[in-house]
């Protein structure tokens, strides 16, 4: 599979459509599965890892999926390409950094990604734009069923799907919804939301999952518990809480506009202006400013840029994407200059075109 062809595009999950897509960026579900007849990845010898990879790769290739999945052999990738896949959320940082035979099968729309020899032998992931957990569940459940016809998963009646880490055992499912919450963060109500979520065993993480800081005011809400609750129950729990958070964010936006319209307008115009004219731009600053532009579009304070464009810029300005787009390896300073140039060009183009 040729990764370079992906460089100028972005995955389905950044389409910026689907229910509640002004606030919900994407919905994602992953399932952890292991083969019954092998030790977990961390205890497998290089030979066993090769066997596991060959076996799963073969079974995945035989899946009756339309369109077919492409396969990427991770050890043969440059570190830039690995980082590129991490930035697109197609592989985990763990898979990028691991050693030995491993890979990922990807759907052309980038909604499906099946990682082989991650912490578990198999990590299935489905990601879609908007608040679409049910659709994501239906798709991943179908892929899981199809695979299960061809391999024997490690499963026990008592503990469910057996995983290398006991935090995933049971359903092996982690369902998450990525939200853009600039107003709740600005009004500092976000901490209250976190505490409420913590009480009902939901976790809050940053854009790039476990251990990542929240940047660009993006937050991922996901289930903590995987044992003792069915997939449907877990999904329902997330389903019931997200609309409330969306309501809070909308209320915070409304009162921000009501109480300090000029201040907010100025903040958004300055963010836009800086992005259109700065000559050096760090990744962090880009995230922060794009977040205000995104908010400005949703509040109809900015008319000439579309949500898909902004969504794409969040990813295209990440270090590996930027270097692939420029076709050169760049150090930190060079990246900051290239990032600023890229942003200027893209935003001016957007401003110039009628849509």
């Amino acid at each position: 599979m040729n990764l370079d062809s992906l460089t100028h595009t972005s995955g389905e999950w950044l389409r910026g459509s689907g229910p509640e897509s002004d606030i919900v960026i994407s919905s994602r579900i992953r399932l952890a599965r292991n083969l019954a007849a092998f030790p977990f990845t961390n205890r497998s010898s290089p030979g066993q890892k090769a066997e596991i990879e060959a076996l799963l790769r073969d079974r995945v290739a035989k899946l009756d999926l339309e369109p077919k999945l492409g396969y990427v052999n991770v050890p043969t990738l440059s570190s830039l390409d690995r980082q590129f896949l991490v930035e697109r959320q197609l592989i985990s940082r763990e898979l990028a950094a691991a050693e030995g035979p491993r890979g990922v099968a990807l759907g052309p729309q980038e909604t499906v990604s099946l990682m082989i020899n991650e912490e578990d032998h198999l990590r299935l992931q489905v990601m879609r734009s908007g608040f679409t957990l049910d659709e994501a569940w239906q798709e991943i459940d179908r892929v899981d069923d199809a695979l299960e016809q061809r391999v024997t998963y490690a499963f026990s009646e008592e503990f469910g799907y057996l995983t290398a880490c006991p935090t995933n055992v049971g359903t092996g499912m982690r369902a998450s919804v990525m939200l853009h919450l600039p107003a709740l963060e600005y009004t500092k109500q976000i901490e209250k939301v976190f505490r409420a979520l913590q009480k009902i065993n939901l976790a809050v993480r940053g854009l790039y999952g476990e251990g990542s800081r929240a940047s660009g005011h993006f937050y991922q809400i996901s289930n903590q518990v995987t044992l003792g609750k069915s997939e449907t129950t877990i999904l329902n729990e997330i389903h019931s809480v997200i609309p409330q958070i969306i309501t809070y964010e909308r209320q915070a936006r409304t009162s921000w506009l009501r109480d300090n319209r000029q201040g907010l307008q100025d903040k958004i115009a300055r963010a836009h202006g800086t992005l259109c004219s700065a000559t050096m731009m760090t990744s962090e600053e880009t995230m922060e400013l794009l977040s205000y532009v995104r908010l400005g579009i949703n509040l109809h304070l900015i008319e000439d840029i579309t949500i898909p464009t902004v969504n794409e810029l969040f990813i295209h300005t990440q270090p590996a994407h930027l270097q692939k787009l420029m076709g050169a390896s760049l150090d930190g300073e060079e990246r900051n200059a290239a990032r600023a140039r890229y942003l200027r060009t893209r935003l001016r183009e957007a401003g110039a075109s009628p849509n």
């Binding site: 007849a37 030790p39 016809q149 998963y153 499963f155 359903t171 044992l227 003792g228």
Partner: protein, 159 residues
């Protein structure tokens, strides 16, 4: 950013919610984060090690008990937070149960199960053991033994 506990690069950023108005931010490297999350002595951690259910949990005999299938000892799991093979859930069931209760609030699976009839657990563990023996046989160049083991593995796989 440097890890708060050693000089490595911090790669994990943990926001602990301690109480009503208290939030603690931690910036740790992979290994310190691991210790933080699994060390039972920590006052606050997302995933707590099992609460002391008596002295027996720290007894060397218990920590050194080994899984006959994959060869890990319980102490290895305590150190890495990762189990070695599916059989460990049986082998270390007693020790894992309080941990599972702590993480999930439950100890019994509820939800999807494979539609296809799974091979018996015994067969699965047998396969892992045979593969380990096969590797050892190959390493000591005992090819005849290796061939027999391979046949036995194929036989089990096809059953």
């Amino acid at each position: 950013m440097k890890c708060q506990k050693c000089h490595n690069q911090a790669t994990l950023h943990i926001t602990e919610i301690l109480g009503e108005d208290q939030i603690e931010e931690l910036h740790l490297c992979e290994s310190c984060a691991h210790n933080h999350l699994y060390e039972p002595s920590q006052k606050s951690s997302g995933v707590k090690a099992p609460p002391s259910t008596g002295e027996d949990l720290d007894e060397p005999a218990m920590l050194n008990r080994q899984c006959e299938v994959c060869g890990i000892k319980f102490v290895d799991f305590r150190n890495t937070g990762r189990l070695g093979c599916p059989h460990d859930y049986q082998e270390f069931k007693e020790e894992l149960t309080p941990l599972l209760e702590n993480i999930h609030g439950e100890t019994r699976h509820c939800g999807k199960s494979p539609r296809r009839l799974p091979q018996s657990k015994q067969t699965q563990s047998e396969l892992i053991k045979l593969r380990k023996q096969l590797l050892q046989a190959v390493n000591k160049e005992a090819y005849e033994e290796a061939a027999q083991l391979r046949d036995r593995i194929r036989q089990l796989e096809d059953s």
